[in-house]
Amino acid sequence: MSGVSNTITNQEKFDRGQIEVDFITKSFDSDAGNILALDGINLEVVPQEFITLVGRSGCGKSTLLRCIGGLISPSTGTIKISGQVVTEPHPQIGYVFQQAVLLPWRTVEENVLLPFEVKGNPTDKEKHKVSEVLEIVGLSDYANHRPGELSGGMQQRVSVSRALVTEPSILLMDEPFGALDAQTREDMNIELLRIWEVAKTTIVFVTHDIGEALFLSDRVVLMSARPGKVHDIIEVNSPRPRTFDQVENDPAFWKMRQRIREALH
């Protein structure tokens, strides 16, 4: 990890890693009428923070993430990335979706190179960056494999690599490990924290697993459904590194767990 050649300094990332969600609402027109998916969300995420969004399915977690990522625009209110109002997908944001969303006709390496290719002809430096990122997630040996030959966990690692390769200041992750088995998910969580500590990015991570949220985050944002609102924000004060055992059994975590559970029901 010390071998990562940063083209963007950590200070620059710090300057770009802030998210301000300023009282946004989002409604969808559908056959069943107007759905208010988000109702007055206020949230400030500080640079290099690891924040998780937790809430029941349908409470608007993905919608909020898509608004932050500029994939959709809020109906009212504004979102700012380090002071700049979001109107379209932001170049400083990396996105990891629930599914790996890999292109089956490209090799692992070519999939990770995609963000550069989309911008133009990848430089040697960018190609080198791809190898580095694959090294970090432990997929160097699979660089020339097709996604179809990889397990679900490995595919999601490729997807994370693709988001990291452009050295984004902000990483938006929408239940990225939701489809993985418990063991693989724990491994991925440990790996993600390792990467986060080195890459110094802000991470907004959606999950509905309370344990995952407590293990990963600085703060847990609890959302309630219909309409989607921020119900509560919990600071996870416990020092890092944490263990899953701790999250499971430490009384300090029990309390937070209890608070989240009550809020969700």
């Binding site: 997908p89 979706f97 969303v101 292109l103 006709w105 097709r146």
Partner: protein, 287 residues
């Protein structure tokens, strides 16, 4: 199928019987593959024996006539002409089909304006145009190429359109998040995704071009396998007609084989080295 069931059993005895079952089944399969053509020829021969050569010529006589046509070289101009017409029609129809298919999938306006005409072209009985095309373009290759192209056109438009407009939503969203331009999204996502659909369009178009070329030859031609069939009809030479049938069938098979070869090369280039990868990737792709 059988393999799966026997594995689930996990019983050694079942596995043993499965192996014998499997190999005897495989042998039976090979046997049938080898025997069926002979059976077919035998039945043909028996029916031919009960009728006159005018109705149904004997397979042996057809074969000898075929050989003689190849030896004396009289078949080549016909075969060459028809093959040329098929390929020219196929290429023309495919290029136009690909172009229009891409156009109507890219632009809503183009779709609204052009699609009705494309559907009219499809509804139009193209063979009915053949006599008029002969008046316009004479007895040469042109009318046949046009008819072949006209009927090869539609499957390509349809499959290109279908392939380009069924890109999975998550992949489109990824490209949006990566701030990909429209042309980049087309080149790097939608077209590669459409390849299998476009190729199945090619396959249909190729076979339709063959039909188109031959039927157009019926209407007015002095060369080509279709012309040969019309001539043999005029002289009541059923044997010669069968020679043309056999050659057309083999020609169709060869073209389809060629198609398969090209498709395989393209798939291997796209998806990797082995055929196993290809099939698993295509399944994934279609999901």
């Amino acid at each position: 199928m059988t393999i799966e069931i026997n594995r689930i059993d996990g019983d050694t005895e079942a596995k043993g019987s499965f192996i014998t079952n499997f190999s005897s089944q495989k042998l039976l399969g090979q046997f049938l593959v080898l025997v069926t053509p002979f059976l077919f020829l035998l039945i043909w021969h028996l029916i031919a024996a009960g009728t006159t050569p005018l109705i149904l010529p004997n397979p042996y006589d057809v074969f000898m006539r075929l050989v003689s046509y190849f030896i004396n070289g009289r078949i080549w101009p016909h075969l060459f002409m028809t093959t040329q017409e098929i390929l020219a029609g196929f290429v023309l129809g495919s290029v136009l089909g690909l172009g229009f298919g891409t156009l109507v999938s890219e632009s809503d306006i183009a779709r609204k304006v052009i699609m009705p005409y494309i559907i009219v072209t499809q509804a139009l009985p193209k063979f009915a145009l053949a006599p008029m095309l002969v008046i316009w373009f004479g007895f040469g290759m042109a009318p046949k190429v046009i008819i072949a192209a006209l009927i090869a056109f539609f499957p390509l438009v349809e499959n290109t359109f279908m392939g380009l407009t069924t890109t999975p939503q998550p992949q489109l969203e990824l490209f949006r998040a990566l701030r990909a331009s429209r042309i980049t999204t087309l080149l790097k996502l939608r077209i590669p995704h459409a390849v299998p659909a476009i190729f199945s369009g090619f396959r249909v178009a190729l076979m339709l071009s063959l039909v188109g070329a031959v039927v157009a030859e019926y209407v007015g031609a002095n060369q080509g396998l279709g012309a040969l069939i019309i001539v043999s009809q005029g002289t009541l030479d059923t044997e010669l007609m069968f020679v043309a049938f056999v050659i057309l069938t083999v020609l169709g098979l060869c073209l389809d084989w060629l198609y398969g070869l090209v498709y395989k090369i393209v798939l291997v280039k796209l998806y990797g080295k082995t055929i196993d990868d290809v099939s698993s990737s295509t399944t994934r792709l279609s999901v």
